[in-house]
Subunit: 340 residues, 2 copies
Amino acid sequence: MEQLTIRQIAQLANVSRSTVSRVINNHPSVRPEVRQRVLEVIREQEYVPQAAARSLASRRTNVVTLLIPRSSAIIFTDPFFPLIIQGITETCSERDYSVMLSMVTGLQERDFYQRVLRSRMTDGLLMLSSDIDDPVLPLLINDQMPLVLIGEHPYMQPMYTVDVANRAGAVLAVNHLLQLGHRRIGAITGLLQMKTAIDRRDGYKQSLLQAGVAIEHQLMIEGEFTQEGGYAAMRQLLSLEHRPSAVFVASDTMALGALRAIYEAGLHAPHDISLIGFDDVPGAAYTTPALTTIHQPIQKLGSTAATMLLDHLEGRPPLQQHIRLSPSLVLRQSCGPRVS
Amino acid sequence: MEQLTIRQIAQLANVSRSTVSRVINNHPSVRPEVRQRVLEVIREQEYVPQAAARSLASRRTNVVTLLIPRSSAIIFTDPFFPLIIQGITETCSERDYSVMLSMVTGLQERDFYQRVLRSRMTDGLLMLSSDIDDPVLPLLINDQMPLVLIGEHPYMQPMYTVDVANRAGAVLAVNHLLQLGHRRIGAITGLLQMKTAIDRRDGYKQSLLQAGVAIEHQLMIEGEFTQEGGYAAMRQLLSLEHRPSAVFVASDTMALGALRAIYEAGLHAPHDISLIGFDDVPGAAYTTPALTTIHQPIQKLGSTAATMLLDHLEGRPPLQQHIRLSPSLVLRQSCGPRVS
DNA sequence: CCTGTGCTTGGGAGCGATCTCATTCTACTA
DNA sequence: TAGTAGAATGAGATCGCTCCCAAGCACAGG
């Protein structure tokens, strides 16, 4: 597969390099018949312009980078990621962009920063938000790197963010429990160094307060966003002398662990205790009992973020700078009415 | 952040561009003190060579592409992927390579082929194997693109492959069931258009034959590698008049569905029926009952594949062209002795 | 003291595109 | 019919690096 250059394509089509370049880049001022002829040759020869030469001259790479920071990597086994990646790659692919993947772990952050950003190999960044105090974010914002943050941030203000309405989702969940008659409702939250965890916990509190139910701090347990985290937290809740009749768990993965703890304690959901999750991961329909949860449009999250970034890169700034997608309640079998 | 070029670095260090280039590329013939001085300037200025210019001149990009073909995309929600990706990015990162992600769905295959390969944006490919008759693989092999296939192929011969010993793993699993006294053992296999599914089924057959147990075709059910697939298959097995006392399920994800079918039939594992999975996904320890399964070193699969590819790209061909990693048995609670 | 050898160093010529600017061509107006 | 605006085209410079080759230099041997 020897590669032709734009020069040879030009010769074959009897035009200049400039004209071929115009055709490739959809520049208007090329006579239709000439354009035809050039496209013909390009197709015949299966010519594709060389990316490196192109970016050197044009200062654009048509590459965006998905940045997965340190703490997200820990929970990278969450089914969350494949879906979000799928949303991103689909959108980028359609619009002729490539996606690079960067998992920034530990102290390589600075290195990454150097290599990827200063080497100009990417036009823009999609970043999964994670720890509030992640040190990379301020650097990126400061450098004016085109950036869409997937997830919100309490005080840093990146130009664009996409997120699910986490707080509203939690309200949805807890309201459901309240409607079933529960009053003593526990919460298993993620680590509160993540915005997502905070928002979901706030939704829990908001819902209770609106219903006039007092908040008991011993009913709110913080844990890692993993099965282990959910398991440990649930054990703690079950060991209370007056245990809750229902629990809101801030992620399905944690809910899995919680279910196990319930099972090991010889109890059954929803009979002895109701459980509601968050995320609606693919496995949630197959737990025992099937998990009632809050569905997030995860793939949409990815595609929306990608769309915003590409629009920005192409000089058509998105109408909204901050988009918040709506979660929804998915009823399954893990919640039931309070038995008194 | 205005960007310095190699020219300015050269000036600041009082040497020529060539010398700076030599320092960057670790060329030996630079006097140590000069090298020091140049490195100093580079560090001070936070200079990083521009990727595009570099690849244009050197004809190398330091980018490898992870190719996720059509049919894999369907089961992309499998926790398999994050881990493999993690293995790949870690290795690549260490060795100064970037990872591009390409999900090739449907009819875009040809397009992808054009855009990514002929545009020379990548030095090599890591491909997740999928359907045996995937149309992209022959094209890649034919083009001599540096390629490591993750998974084996029955008749195409890519230069490099990494895989888990699927057949041996299945033997491990079924032997375990045999040892527990089971003789009527069912199998839920993946779709047999995938090499992985075939190998695991062959291991199942091999184990039975070696134990002198006749193979009954009605006990082997084919299904998709999803929870739904496992669910449907298990229902079929349970509806047999003489149902198996144990079932080998070719993936944990399917096993989840199978567990649900058992539960819905009013049965219990392992009391009424033993179940063994394959993969050891993170959730496997948190099913009810916890799933006995075959562990695969998934992350290692990714890092090994990456290592092979990079070694090849850097002119140090790996010693083995085909690597097969060993799976292992993980005992949990879903298997028990046969009750007669 | 001169020449040969081997290590350092510098300069120039690409790599393959884009982009600006000047030039040619077309067609329309006065 | 000449003049001219505007569209279409081409040539050359340029992007920032690598790599080849020639020149500089020091030292050893004859």
